[in-house]
């Protein structure tokens, strides 16, 4: 029998070396999947030519949804018929990316029946990615996923699949229940996720403390970052324990505090909590001795994104503090107002952060009915080009 396995001289180089190899993964999927084999052949060609071979080409999806599937076609479909159509299904991940072995096997079995057998655990936004299938397999795959309790995530100009850090499930620093908030927001906006209604994408990420393990500030239009309002909790004997174990508290903790709010006299650590900016450094260094305060909640920030179109933005403060138990209601009200304003004034393919850049934060605040507070800026303006508004009726 002739050996019809893909010849992959260049890709074989990527099976060498200690780090686990994605080429090995594609080859193992290729044992049972013709499309995984053709993916390997096309990828080898890309490595030879230093060129990608994918193209867009019309919308594909499942009945009644406007997103959740990324249509992908090979530009060399005659040469590689089994990846002529190679669409991606975005499956909304469980909050915190927790699974059981049984749940994983369920996904694997469905994907063995309906796709390439290749996945990404996970995509950049957070979804479980099922990588590569034909148009005809989309609806059956979707319905089997749904019967197993899974649904599709967002794509295009939609409410994108929210994601969150591990939060209260396994972290002592969680200042609010990020997994619950992530789940609740996901369930609240299923329509906006599955039927793209916006000028462009809208991403939400829930990080339960300022360490921001999900990069919310850089990668989400709405970044919900856990923090606390009262004093850092100190266990004095544990502080002494760190000192006697060799930690240089002056150098490694106090000197690195960004607001210089800590002092160490060799016996006692004192903290000027009013000057603490809640950066987490001291708590990260001494997790047994220091903990976030008890009055916990989150700072809500807006506008983060990668470069396209007008340049990358980090989110900036919109609401300096919302108590943990008020977060969901506050966010729902805020999101409604932000979406109303964005719907009305946003240009096509304009993220919320770019809209704020274009119209200015003051006009955005007017639009969503939020009062300005000094926490929103690193400093007041330093230019005198102030557009004074005419006094409203009844005002002086």
């Amino acid at each position: 029998m002739p050996d019809d396995r893909p010849k992959t001289e260049l890709l074989d180089e990527l099976e060498k070396g200690p780090w686990p190899s994605f080429v090995k993964e594609i080859k193992s999927a290729g044992q049972t999947s013709a499309s995984a084999q053709d993916l390997l052949r096309q990828l080898e060609l890309s490595y030879q030519e230093k060129k990608g071979h994918w193209k867009h080409g019309g919308l594909v999806g499942v009945l009644g949804y406007g997103g959740g599937v990324i249509g992908r076609y090979s530009d060399a479909g005659e040469q590689f018929p089994d990846v002529a159509q190679f669409h991606t299904i975005r499956v909304n991940q469980p909050a915190g990316w927790f699974y059981t072995s049984e749940a994983l096997r369920t996904i694997c079995d469905i994907w063995e029946r309906h796709g390439s057998g290749l996945t990404n655990m996970h995509g950049s936004t957070g979804d479980l990615i099922l990588l590569g299938t034909r148009t005809a397999e989309l609806e059956p795959a979707f319905q089997e996923l749904a019967q197993a309790g899974f649904d599709l995530g967002g794509s295009g100009s939609s409410f994108r699949t929210p994601s969150c850090c591990v939060g209260m499930a396994r972290c002592e620093w969680a200042c609010y229940d990020a997994m619950k908030l992530c789940y609740d927001l996901t369930m609240a906006y299923q329509d906006e996720m599955h039927r793209p209604p916006f000028p462009y994408k809208f991403k939400v990420k829930c990080a339960a403390c300022p360490n921001d393990c999900v990069a919310a500030i850089a990668r989400a239009d709405l970044s919900i970052i856990g923090t606390w309002r009262d004093d850092i909790q100190v266990d004095e004997s544990a502080v002494t324990g760190y000192a006697s174990a060799g930690l240089n508290i002056q150098k490694d903790v106090c000197d690195l505090c960004p607001s210089r709010c800590m002092a160490w006299d060799g016996h006692k650590l004192s903290i000027e909590n009013r000057e603490c900016v809640r950066c987490m450094h001291c708590i990260n260094v001494m997790p047994k001795a220091l903990r976030p305060g008890k009055e916990r909640g989150a700072v809500i920030m807006i506008g983060g994104k990668a470069p396209i179109m007008q340049g990358a933005l980090l989110s900036s403060v919109l609401v300096p503090f919302v108590p943990a138990d008020e977060l969901l209601d506050t966010l729902k009200e805020l999101i409604r107002r932000v979406w109303d304003f964005w719907d009305e004034y946003g240009n096509n393919r304009e993220r919320v952060g770019e809209l704020i850049q274009r119209v200015g934060l003051p006009a955005f605040l007017d639009g969503i009915g939020l009062d300005p507070v000094p926490e929103m800026v690193s400093a007041p303006r330093d230019n005198p080009y102030i557009f004074y508004q005419a006094a409203k009726e009844g005002e002086k």
């Binding site: 780090w19 049984e102 096997r105 749904a146 396994r170 340049g311």
Partner: protein
């Protein structure tokens, strides 16, 4: 078959996370007291109740076959009661209640080729994009670059010997479907030629959408052979590929001119310094598959120089802020060029606006 016998389900949302939580996690949810880092890749979280949950973290290539996922499921059944999770950087974590199972699990993972590590002051797994595996606008492959870089810094994943954590990201074009713009070291695929407009635009390409898609306003309406089309003002094009995303008749891929740029000093954490963007270190390196030696060499250089010169707890960006950019270029030997000086919006904010010069 099931679809015909059962009602069609939509908008059910993801499964509730609670059904996937280890019983110890469910019991101590929100009641964790502190954690200890027992070894690279191994955490112990201690609850107020005194319960302990152990985490064993392993690196994966992110692109995983169902065959491998089934192996992970079997490992979870054997060692962690069937409970596992993935991290935001594509690592795999097993959650154990019995510390005696840590070492056997670790040894089995290593034997299977999945390194245990990625915690604390290690280089964790690389966040990356699809590249030639699945993307239409990629200037390079992502998985291949990740594999080559992680092979070269493998010991930095399995050891925690850096001054602070170090986060690497790879994006295969300017769309940056990963937190490349805020990473300690970022590898970014770049195109360097404007799109090659095909003679006739297919129906899917709408001229107003195309014009609006260009961040720099480089796309203008034009009439070609009596038909509506577009022209590109080439001096204004910065090769983002956004037009190609909305119109397949504007291809960007070019084997000779596509390549990589290297960025440094970004972070997302608020610890100590505020979050920062990554800044340009090397404007162009050749796209050289399958092993990208130039890129690997540059990344290893940055890591080694940082490891040698940074102080404890300093992230790459914090270290460079302390020593200054001239010294960064001197220590790494990277050339400073006109491309390093910003000339887009708000560029002047990055010009040195003081007489603070290190000599």
């Amino acid at each position: 078959m099931s679809a015909t016998t059962q009602p069609r389900l939509t908008d059910i949302g993801p499964p509730h996370y609670e059904k996937y939580l280890h019983p110890l996690i469910k019991k101590n949810y929100g009641q964790w007291k502190y954690h200890e880092n027992l070894a690279p890749g191994i955490y112990c979280h201690v609850a107020e109740s005194g319960d302990r949950i152990y985490t064993v973290r392993a690196g994966t290539p992110r692109l995983l076959s169902i065959q491998t996922l089934r192996i992970f499921a079997d490992l979870a059944d054997k060692y962690s009661g069937g409970y596992l999770r993935f991290t935001s950087r594509n690592n795999l974590e097993f959650l154990l209640d019995d510390p005696a199972r840590i070492e056997p699990l670790k040894q089995e993972l290593i034997a299977l080729g999945y390194p245990v590590g990625g915690t604390n002051n290690a280089i964790s797994n690389i966040v990356h994009t699809q590249g030639w595996i699945h993307c239409h606008s990629s200037a390079t492959d992502a998985s291949g670059l990740v594999k080559c870089v992680m092979d070269a810094v493998y010991d930095r994943f399995t050891h925690e010997d850096l001054p602070a954590k170090l986060r690497i990201a790879v994006a295969c074009c300017l769309n940056m479907c990963g937190a490349v713009h805020c990473s300690d070291i970022a590898i970014l695929g770049v195109h360097r030629l404007p799109p090659k407009i095909q003679p006739t635009l297919p129906r899917v390409c709408e001229v107003p959408t195309l014009i609006a898609a260009c961040p720099t306003g480089a796309i203008r309406p034009a009439t070609v052979d009596g038909k509506n089309s577009v022209a590109v003002v080439e001096q204004q094009c910065m090769y983002c590929g956004n037009c190609y995303t909305v119109c397949p008749a504007m291809p960007m891929n070019d084997a000779e001119n596509d390549g990589l740029s290297i960025w440094v000093g970004g972070k997302v954490s608020n610890a100590r310094s505020a979050p920062m963007f990554s800044k340009l270190a090397i404007p162009f390196l050749p796209n050289n598959p399958p092993r990208w030696p130039e890129v690997v060499e540059a990344v290893v250089k940055i890591v080694d120089v940082y490891a040698k010169h940074a102080r404890k707890y300093e992230r790459v960006g914090e270290w460079i802020e302390r020593i200054g950019w001239p010294r960064f270029f001197q220590l790494t030997g990277f050339e400073f060029t006109r491309y390093h000086i910003d000339d887009f919006k708000h560029a002047a904010l990055t010009y040195a606006r003081s007489a603070h010069v290190r000599y």
